[in-house]
């Protein structure tokens, strides 16, 4: 329809380019190739509209909400309060604690994931038998329900759980684990690392497959030790995989820290004493426990800037060019 009207319009103001008009209608009506293109572009457009409506616009709207005193249950006008929500957040001890915890989750969690992922991938890369079996074993946690895993960990780690039985039998004092503000966060990080090893392993195995064998042969001829081979051949050539894993790992860690924390922390909301609360958990509490959308949105904006900065930082610091 639009094509017709516009070409018709075009026709009126501009007489000479008859050819063009003809070519336009021709293109769309006569030429199958262009019709096909039109179809393809329309199809491609639909997800974009969906994406705009479901992701981008609400995201932009969050910035607006963050500047308002927005009670989720209220139907009145939500007054504009400027940066008040941001000020409140930075004075809020729990929020500061949640940012700090999120940093711990990311730094320890992501580096743990990467290190264990590389180790497992290197080991699996070396063996020729039972490769499939081991891959399955290491990958199973990744496809298991986080909620189920969290509860199993709770039972294993409780006061008279299996781990404490082992400790006591070894003559060591029983540990509180999830009941301790000093230990709980590391226990949760441990569970998260264990669960994501499988995913990292797959990424690194793919990266290792892509390193040409001849580089190792050349290194052998030069008399390189295994450590030198890893550090000067494997590691640099795995760099793109590491950057990708680190960025993806960070983002999923920020998202996933919600389910684990809610299911593993002793009070289900980041306890004990807020020692395991992450920013995402706190945002959820602000929005859906206290109905303060303004504060929650402001916290979300801060989280957004935080992830953005972290991702840029990772891209800059971790990405290096290696040529061989």
């Amino acid at each position: 329809m639009e094509q017709y009207s516009s070409s018709h319009h075009h026709n009126q103001e501009n007489k000479p380019p008859q050819k063009e008009k003809k070519s336009l209608t021709h293109k769309f009506r006569g030429n199958l190739k262009y019709q096909k293109y039109l179809f393809v572009y329309t199809c491609l457009l639909l997800p974009i509209i969906f994406y705009l409506g479901i992701r981008i616009l609400p995201t932009l709207f969050t910035f607006n909400v963050g500047f308002r005193d927005w009670n989720l249950l209220s139907t009145d006008i939500q007054p504009f309060v400027g940066f008040e929500n941001y000020l409140t957040l930075f004075k809020d001890e729990v929020f500061i604690k949640s940012i700090f915890n999120t940093l711990i989750y990311i730094v320890l969690g992501v580096s743990g994931q990467l290190i264990f992922g590389i180790i497992v991938a290197l080991l699996l890369h070396k063996i020729n038998r039972f490769v499939g079996f081991f891959r399955v074993i290491y990958f199973i946690p990744y496809v298991t329900s986080i909620v189920a895993i969290s509860w199993v960990f709770q039972w294993i780690l409780m006061g008279n759980g299996i781990i404490n039985d082992v400790l006591v039998n070894l003559g060591l004092p029983p540990q509180p684990f999830l009941n301790s503000p000093d230990q709980a966060i590391y226990v949760i990080i441990g569970a998260m690392i264990w669960q994501s090893i499988g995913f990292q392993m797959i990424l690194f195995l793919a990266g290792l497959e892509n390193i040409p064998e001849m580089l190792y042969e050349a290194a052998d001829i030069d008399g390189a030790s295994p450590w030198q081979k890893f550090w000067h051949v494997t590691f640099p050539l795995l760099n793109p995989t590491i950057v990708f894993s680190a960025v993806i790992g960070t983002i999923t860690f920020i998202q996933v820290s919600f389910t684990q924390v809610v299911n593993m922390s002793m009070d289900g909301s980041g306890g004990p004493l807020n020692s395991t609360i992450s920013v995402v958990v706190y945002i959820y509490q602000l929005a859906f426990r206290q109905f303060d959308m303004g504060l929650a949105s402001a916290a979300t904006v801060i989280l957004f800037l935080f992830i953005l900065a972290l991702t840029l930082f990772q891209m800059k610091v971790l990405t290096k060019k290696f040529d061989y």
């Binding site: 009670n71 306890g271 859906f288």
Partner: protein
Amino acid sequence: MVRKWQFILLGILLLLVVAACSSDEGDSENGAKADDSEGTGGEITLEYWQYSFDSKVKLMDELIAEFEEANPGIKVEQTNFPYDQYNEQVAAQVPAGRGPDVINLFYGWVPTYVDAGYLQPLPQDAFPHDEIESEFFPLVEATKMDGEYWTIPTAVRTLALFYNKDLFTEAGLDPDSPPTTWEELEDYAVQLTKADSSGRLEQSGMAWEPAQQGHQWLRDGLTIQAGGQVLSEDRRDVVWGDDPAGLEAFKYWLSFPTDLGTSEQGFYTDDVTAFVTEKAAMNVDGSFRIGTLQSDAPDLNYAVAPLPGKEAQSTNSSFWTNGITAGVEGEKLEAATKFLEFLTSDDVMERWLDATGELPAKEAVAMQDKYVNDEIYGPFIESLPFANAHFFVDETKERDLVIDAANRVLMEGMDPEEAFNQLVESTQELYDAYWSDK
């Protein structure tokens, strides 16, 4: 030429986006209007929301069918959400201009909802204040604010002491004489506790979980039993620390996991699991747990007794309660009122007890002999006259403050008095913030 049609495409895209946005806003307004005008037509449809609790949902379906038959022209539609997503789901529907006409809320949430302007006061001609106050248990006043009743419950629940008769016998205690005083409770808990050589609990004499009913037991049970109060009459001041009874209750409460060594937070993950698996011999829990025990542990040999007291007897009470949302008016409001009157009728209250285990909210219905003498329900009903429902300005936060105070003592070794003073102070801050814009 190519550039031109690209331009057109972009135009279409923009148009679509603008259309999507504007029609969105229009929709919500129209939606709200259409919703209201529905009432003037032949049939009125009421939206009723409650959380998913099998026995309640099933009973409500039956009740709705009866109500519709008795009131032609009114239809009621029930919608349910899981308990832990309930607030979230309600909140998510508000900006969309959709939602219930009659809503079932936990009483502790009501102040937040009233504050946000989500509810309207109960119509006084159908629910006169003097009638509510003479017929219902006084604890329903927990949702009376600004001189208005905003909600009215069908049923209420109280806390009482659950105890495992087999474990009593095993420890040489008489399963027919449960503890009735603070001292006896301590004594029984110690006798019912077993620990291994490393000092780890094998069997807890007294389940102890601040995040579950523990914080309620402390506020409405122990504090009042010791002769204290949490809130002032006008609900503005936290007077918990004014009387030594407050601290005494806090210390007594904490003595189970500390001095007495009978309890452990997170023992077998939580108190209910520990009690069901016979790892805990006693637990303070609500009448709402009876159904769970019947279905999950039909062989559990347990009994119930009123909470052990001290200077006075007291227990915590809580309830799910029904309110009418703010936008409902005209014929629809009449229908909603009728529905509420039906839900708070004596007959429905009796059936509610049979089906869900929750106790009648009206004194005359609850105190009938057949209920008071019931082996399981009896102790809960007996407790109703001295039951208290704490007025929450923010249920989640107040609960978290109690949990944190306990954890400071248990995990960080803070002096109980200091932790208690912090608890009182930070609770007062919540109340100051709540009252500041009233």
